[in-house]
Symmetry: C2
């Protein structure tokens, strides 16, 4: 574009003169110069970490989700909507206060997610959905953008706050990912309390499982349950958080009960680093929510970072590319929340709604549920 504009300027300014050799030489030098400038500004150049750090000092922000899906205003009572918004506000405010007082993004992410894990409103911790055999299997992951260290747990059944165990896997083991009883054995070496499985029982989630099972039976076991929006909505859900602290460090975390009626110890995207969770100080921190299988195949969280780092996209452009184009092209749906190294936030989804909230350095709070809001 720059080249074309300059030709225009050249033409309009010079047409009254005869073009001589000298003028053409200037034109040529100008083009070479512009060519170099164009190349330098090319999005392929990796950004400078130190510059970013300098810019970000003092600036911070946080963004959360409580799951994406077929969330329609007509299906929601005023009191339920108010309950969701209040809990989102409580959760994000906790993280905001940590960041404001100079705490780390890892701390903010963990504490914010804890509040959502402890609420029966969201499919994580206390509100986890039921598996096919009527149990609850929890997954979580967390990543530190400063060190690219990461921790994840999957298929755990007795830990109140799976995100805390993911953090401990990252910080206190030599591993990244632990599963089920093994992960809980590790938790016990750290003094974690083993919860009775009844802690995870909620009437609403149990009824969802029964409805899905009835639907499956009526369809002779065929996987057609997604034709019913209620079923689809109640099958998925996740909570997640991405934060930038005053020290320029990014972190992201995700926690979930997985998929209603899941069987065969299915693992979704939430505990997969690169799919459900990713953070890198040079780019962004991302937490995903949606149909996990498609999010694994599209390597959603890391792809957003890669599009920023390698193609020079903004966070919003990268999030839109992945969530509005790449995931739907595979047939999947869901969303992400993300924050970049400069505090810009993206809350992108291709479903009817996503429980979401964000707060910036100035304490400005945004809480939304539906698409057009």
């Amino acid at each position: 574009m720059t080249v074309i504009i300059v030709i225009f300027e050249y033409l309009s300014g010079k047409l009254k003169y005869r073009v001589k050799m000298k003028n053409l030489t200037y034109l040529f030098i100008l083009f070479v110069f512009l060519g170099c400038e164009y190349h330098e500004k090319s999005p392929e150049k990796p950004s400078n970490n130190l510059d970013n750090l300098q810019k970000s000092i003092g600036k911070f922000g946080i963004v959360i989700h409580g799951g994406a899906g077929t969330i329609l205003k007509e299906d929601m009572s005023d009191s339920l909507e108010a309950a969701y918004k209040a809990k989102l506000k409580e959760a994000i405010s906790a993280g905001y206060e940590i960041l404001k007082s100079g705490g780390s993004s890892l701390d903010a992410v963990t504490h914010t997610i804890n509040i959502m894990e402890d609420s029966p409103l969201f499919n994580a911790g206390k509100g986890a959905v039921f598996t096919h055999d009527g149990s609850n299997e929890l997954d979580a992951s967390i990543m530190d953008g400063a060190t690219l260290n990461a921790g994840a747990v999957a298929g755990i059944k007795h830990i109140k706050n799976p995100i805390n165990l993911a953090l401990d896997v990252m910080q206190k083991s030599e591993h990244v990912m632990l599963y089920g009883a093994g992960a809980e054995e590790f938790a016990q070496t750290l003094g974690y309390k083993m919860m009775d499985t009844s802690y995870f029982y909620t009437q609403k989630r149990y009824e969802s499982l029964q409805k899905v099972l009835r639907n499956e039976k009526e369809k002779n076991g065929k996987k057609v349950s997604f034709e019913d929006p209620f079923i689809k909505n109640s099958k998925f859900g996740t909570v997640g958080c991405a934060a930038l602290d005053k020290h320029g460090n990014l972190a992201a975390g995700t926690s979930t009960g997985g998929m209603t009626n899941k069987r065969w110890s299915r693992i979704g995207d939430a505990p997969i680093i690169g799919a459900g969770t990713y953070a890198k100080n040079a780019t962004c921190a991302v937490s995903s929510t949606g149909w996990g299988e498609y999010f694994i195949r599209a390597v959603v969280a890391y792809d957003i970072s890669a599009l920023m780092e390698y193609k020079g996209m903004t966070l919003q452009e990268a999030a839109s590319e992945v969530i509005q184009k790449k995931v739907p092209a595979l047939g999947g749906d869901g969303g992400i929340v993300a924050i970049d190294k400069d505090g810009n936030v993206a809350m992108e989804f291709n479903t009817a709604g996503m429980y979401r909230a964000t707060m910036n350095s100035e304490g400005e709070l945004v809480i939304k549920i539906y698409k057009d809001e």
Copy 2:
């Protein structure tokens, strides 16, 4: 560049004439046209699958690894070296024949890996290493570059060929990743034979566990076992394969017993789509081997694809960037084998050796073990 060359041509051809309005208009139109052409050829644009398909028809290739690590010639007997090379040749030849006769890359990958899984020489299937409690827990994953579909299993104990189960998860379930007993329950619905765990017992791997345990005890449980090259070498290992078939379809697969002395149901990179395995027809197919925790954190397999797609790197440049720079920067080591849409192969590692082999359309076979070979 094109723009500059054309200016040169224009200058040399037209200098003897006075430049009139008409000529300048032509020049302008030419620049607009060339600008568009330049933009179209930019490496940022994702490549056209149909074009690739056309180019690749008839061309095929396959590449395998049997693990990377501290593999030194002075520690290896001639007979053991010959045994490794013979098994690598047998495995890759099986895949080559499938590809040559027009079979799919998925088939070639699966059958090639089966031969290595069935050999006690490699840490996968029959030769799997032992966990801390003296059992064997197997992981595998596979990905189809044509559809971006994927399948993975982790922590399984009774399946002879885990890569086959990963393929069935991809093709016969609505999931991508299944774990342990749940994955085996799914396998039983498909008629898989449940192997007695004694099938996976090999004296050599059991002795490795004992040595690692003794070493750990001597160091009072501290994780310092990597100071002994034998220990380091015997702790890791994987088998993997990447292939391009005559139809232009890429596929990759990885299978492993994980890490000697692993505990708490640790999951490494082998069953993680994006870390251990990735395939996309527009770019490449990759299988990783190495210190899994670092490969997960660096999203190794997908990062190679992203560097090709978004930065226009060649396969070799991308593989080198990730294995020689990014993984070591985190403190990890290991390697990858990969093949791109045009049949170019990369076998990149930052360890003393990697069991590896490749065959191209012409049937040219390369088998190597050590770094400088």
